[in-house]
Symmetry: D2
Subunit: 432 residues, 4 copies
Amino acid sequence: MEYSKRKLQEEKVFKDPVHRYVHVRDVVIWDLIGTKEFQRLRRIRQLGTTYLTFHGAEHSRFNHSLGVYEIVRRIVDDVFAGRKEWNVEDRLLSLCAALLHDVGHGPFSHSFEKVFGLDHEEFTKMIILGDTEVNAILTRVDRQFPKKVAEVIGKTSENKLVVSLISSQIDADRMDYLQRDAYFTGVSYGHFDMERILRVMRPREDQVVIKQSGMHAVEDYIMSRYQMYWQVYFHPVTRSAEVLLTKILHRAKELHRKGYIFTYKPLHFYSIFNEEYVLQDYLKLDEAVMLYYFQVWQEEEDPILSDLCRRFVNRDLFKYIEFDPAKEYRKHSELEALFKKAGIDPEYYLVYDSSSDLPYDFYRPGEEEERLPIYLLMKNEELRELSRESDIVDAISGKRRTDHKLYFPADRLHDQSSRRNIKKQIRSILEI
Amino acid sequence: MEYSKRKLQEEKVFKDPVHRYVHVRDVVIWDLIGTKEFQRLRRIRQLGTTYLTFHGAEHSRFNHSLGVYEIVRRIVDDVFAGRKEWNVEDRLLSLCAALLHDVGHGPFSHSFEKVFGLDHEEFTKMIILGDTEVNAILTRVDRQFPKKVAEVIGKTSENKLVVSLISSQIDADRMDYLQRDAYFTGVSYGHFDMERILRVMRPREDQVVIKQSGMHAVEDYIMSRYQMYWQVYFHPVTRSAEVLLTKILHRAKELHRKGYIFTYKPLHFYSIFNEEYVLQDYLKLDEAVMLYYFQVWQEEEDPILSDLCRRFVNRDLFKYIEFDPAKEYRKHSELEALFKKAGIDPEYYLVYDSSSDLPYDFYRPGEEEERLPIYLLMKNEELRELSRESDIVDAISGKRRTDHKLYFPADRLHDQSSRRNIKKQIRSILEI
Amino acid sequence: MEYSKRKLQEEKVFKDPVHRYVHVRDVVIWDLIGTKEFQRLRRIRQLGTTYLTFHGAEHSRFNHSLGVYEIVRRIVDDVFAGRKEWNVEDRLLSLCAALLHDVGHGPFSHSFEKVFGLDHEEFTKMIILGDTEVNAILTRVDRQFPKKVAEVIGKTSENKLVVSLISSQIDADRMDYLQRDAYFTGVSYGHFDMERILRVMRPREDQVVIKQSGMHAVEDYIMSRYQMYWQVYFHPVTRSAEVLLTKILHRAKELHRKGYIFTYKPLHFYSIFNEEYVLQDYLKLDEAVMLYYFQVWQEEEDPILSDLCRRFVNRDLFKYIEFDPAKEYRKHSELEALFKKAGIDPEYYLVYDSSSDLPYDFYRPGEEEERLPIYLLMKNEELRELSRESDIVDAISGKRRTDHKLYFPADRLHDQSSRRNIKKQIRSILEI
Amino acid sequence: MEYSKRKLQEEKVFKDPVHRYVHVRDVVIWDLIGTKEFQRLRRIRQLGTTYLTFHGAEHSRFNHSLGVYEIVRRIVDDVFAGRKEWNVEDRLLSLCAALLHDVGHGPFSHSFEKVFGLDHEEFTKMIILGDTEVNAILTRVDRQFPKKVAEVIGKTSENKLVVSLISSQIDADRMDYLQRDAYFTGVSYGHFDMERILRVMRPREDQVVIKQSGMHAVEDYIMSRYQMYWQVYFHPVTRSAEVLLTKILHRAKELHRKGYIFTYKPLHFYSIFNEEYVLQDYLKLDEAVMLYYFQVWQEEEDPILSDLCRRFVNRDLFKYIEFDPAKEYRKHSELEALFKKAGIDPEYYLVYDSSSDLPYDFYRPGEEEERLPIYLLMKNEELRELSRESDIVDAISGKRRTDHKLYFPADRLHDQSSRRNIKKQIRSILEI
């Protein structure tokens, strides 16, 4: 039988704490899960440094990827199957794109990408199209299949309906991570009636739409998203750990550039330091490897690298205050000057960070195009943009909220050295 | 104020998915959590290789240790406080012992300890009594305090009541891990009414006892334990990953002994290979470091080490059959001979493993002394051993169940080389 | 010992599906629960006719009253105890008011009170102050105690802090019913982190306030409330059953007024029909008694009473359309005329009903005084009204939403009698 | 289209707290739910008097019947569909039998049937085969269909597979009630992995069997059952309320027999008192009607009837002691004599009650035939009786446990009348 249609003799199930069971019947999916590129996601945490704030958040991207796959599977097999607007040929494409949508993620992506100017979406494409086990399987389905999958994940596919299953304001990706991250952190936000939402999803030419009767479940989902962003994803303590991470990578790169001789050579980072993005090197870089370096680098001679690594490994994080440099430009300059005087390099030890979120938005011409609105399917088959029907969504629609923080090592501002007066000044400005 | 009595200005809470919140008010506890030895538990998974079977089981021992602390805190603060049989002086001792009971665990303890003849309980003692941040804090409470804590954890303390809170057939350790492991794996076993059990616990001279009215909750707990053992802890796929791990460590040690030149030197393992158990070296060895070696060793020249590492990293596990070598001695020898003929070293590729559990037992003179029975406190203040009151517990009491498996790489038994006939013979014996 | 301070020898616990356990240690509370007036709440459903929409919603006001008591108990015993702003003398007052706040509710209160012009709060007062078992117990505490309890429930007490525990925009009453009604209906709304809210409640002179750190939990609570109102409490099918109930009572009263001879005499209703509100008669009227009458009245000769009863008993409900008579006055008149022509009395068979809710509001001078705002307690001890801090609450604050429905028996609009043309006209106007 | 095959235009869903949603697509099922005989189940509590012990247990048989239907629907539609051993023609039969299996239940069945020598299974048959709305619908499917449904429910059908879905040691009935009763009482027993059990059920000629891989889920189910029996169903306080109920009915029947003139005539009971089992009369007797009588009978002149009714209505229950009259025959006689002397009729006020359960049993020739064993389907397609594979089930298999209680009104044994010495004697024998 054609490879794309082959089924496992006996369905395989993964016990999943969020969706109870993840069901696999397609040989293609089973084979993809077994590839080393996909197994690698076990070594990358879904929420990066969040486990340093919420100790339960130790779950991996492997976990989440299976979850997204399962949600899409339920949509296409239990809800879309048999509907005239749904092309059954798109089934396997949807499942593969769901499973692989995060396959290019690296360790602690946020900081990593920021420092090295990388983009995990690029790596996803390279994994799907390059010389990998994943590519071999997808090619076996059809020579054009890897390209199709990559286009869906990259949102350049003409098949907008399938794209919207994976990336839209109400997609399987978000529905999985909100629930999963709530489950593992243990927060009481993040709950909404996904079963209901799935049941009222309908395929339309350009995107998935939601039957009007499911509006309240969608409102709940949007509120969950809002709460999870501010309670979990943008938690200032998590960001403090991100700040450390970013500064460690930054310092290591800088030292390498300057020709510093590492006791523990950053072999795994060479190609990235040199801005050569070699897929095989990238794939070797997982969180275990990063943590290995952070640990051994505690013994490096460079005091900044070693201090930052020690802080990260032992969770000795920076403290923070509310601070918006744009509004308090002078104060910021003054602080930088004082830090230098105190012998604490502000480049690494006085770090501004902001987070910003838009809980939901309708389409605004000329802006980020991904913000496709959520459409309700009315009884008369008309489509109405969600915020026109929902008072609550209307109330928060397009309202961006931003949060500004300044991070610094409070413990280093208290000693009794000759610099005690400078430090006193700093503390007085920081009001700590 | 005395250090041992100091309270945090504002209670700290950890969001915990199992107990909802972990509450810390004592400065001593807060300080212990901040030590690097305790933070290190974040880098050691609670269930070792189980995440390769149940993908949710990625939680760390840090997680569990906080949980055990919280359970003991609830017992001593909410249930025991004010009872005449409870000495309030034992409160801090109980909390510290609970928090630190697993602090000596290494990465993938089971395999690690088996191969290197180590015992994590020894390391726990060394961490508590040696030159560590943990020891400094405990000593600040009282010069004798570290020793007291170590004795409770080591079960040599004369304070049997406190010992029984941490290690008995119904202790805080088991109550936490059953629930926690069920939560993270997502299995539906592992649930019992802990709130009820805590409420009916009573302090008695030699141990914690359970008021008779809580008997059914205890029955449920024992059944949970039974199910978790067979469904999760002894899962044959998890054991297959353990087998790989054990054989990797075994091989590395062997290569080192023979003077093999590693491309990636096992620096972190030297003292252990040499059977010098240096605490500072041990503390550097966490799962990230182990996984780093497994990953780089895929590129070692030694084909066995490299193959086993590749298998572990990519989750290419051995298959298994039911097999008890004690009963089928001849078949086992024959298999070993055939494996050798086929060029597959049976030392590493034909591995027998068994698991065995006793769900509950009453005291049997002359046997393992830790098996203290669970006592019910009857209305007339008499103590009765649980299995005399509970039909269900009586039915399973002392019934040991054992499971025997033989592991091997099924994929290597199928090629079409000149050895195909030998492999066919092997497959026929293994009935695969 | 003084009666007000007496404790049960052994704490009593009620297993509660929402709060897990309800704990009773005070003899006064135990005695109040045992009174016949309180036990009567077992025969009155918390959500009236909602069980005809959500079949799980069969829980009684007894259930809810214990829940409110338990929440207040946790606030005063676990959070307020020991705080200087909390007067421990108010403890028993708070517990009794919580337990008894709904004791005057009658069967299907909403319809019942509407038809007979009653007010359950009046009856609550009569039960607390009149010749009842409840009164006897409260008087035993202190001669003035019944009055104090009644004033707290009636919101006329000078002790505004205690009043706010039971009736404010974030009180124990709402926190219990949202969670309880969500639990029994099975909807996924209604969840919020009550444990967190309780922990951050602080007593202040005029009301309970919430520490700023709990703001997000409060936002979640307000959203839950919003969703529960529209998804459960104002569900149009539930209101359809309410419409039937109201019309049955209306008809029975009317028939009684006209001197109709009932086959099954409405003995239990006489005093109410005659607008004599006799406490002892009121207390006999529970849902079982009402359902008894509805059942036997199916056999009454009056066709309207018998038809409405049959419909209620067998859940043969009216259908509905969106309709606002204020906007479509002419259409409404036309419908009434056509119903009359068709021989279907519009008084009983063409019923307009509207529901309206305000999810949260801050204080608006000169309006309903009960809408006390929720105050956040900032770090600097300042109080800030919630909507000034919370974007989401600000967005929905003061936004009233109203829903208009017209109810009618669709089944009677389809027959083939001589009136078929009139009925066709009706159907065309109703667009059914 | 044929009535039996007609589908609703849009699937209807019931929100169910236990199974989340109950799905109805068949017109036949929808019509059956709408019948007055089925709606009547809303007025009969699933657990009779249990709500007087566990206040949450106020759920009706309507609730449970929908749940059993939903479980069978999932089995036949999601698991059996397409399997060669399953005859798709049996689908509607299974669904109807599931939905209607309890339709003949009366109010407080246990006591009711005991006093009047009735059998709800007889009434189920009469409702299905007699002149009812249910019968009309079933007949519309096929003239023979009512008979078929009745035979499945009555376990006389030749279609043993379908019978076993509804009544066997692991049937949809039990799986629903264990979970549902646990949910509403709030106890932590009653949980097992039903989703897993459903997935491993397989149709075989004579009954449903369970794939071996589901054995542990079945063990958990059997333990749940054991715990629910002893913790909930046989709870001595619930039985105390049952005792009252039984004695009320007993007394009313006796008074009627003796020609006592009731102030409130037991019109609804006449045919039953006269042992004429008239279906239409039976159907009018629901819990509301019974509670109506209990309430008005508080005012009857007969002191026993009035006292028992007052006790039931106000939950003033009898106390109990462990007592087995078979073993303590003399003591029992003595107590009866003393009760008489004290003027307390032992017939109504000294009541023995026992409960007994067998958690699981395999087939024992010549005994109750319904105890069909549970069979595991081994990998080699062989069937093995559960207790041969499961140590735990083997341990408790066939172990009957019995509990004996003696109930009496403790409050009446304490007065200071002339009979105080007799009462003292009684108390001394009862050891209270």
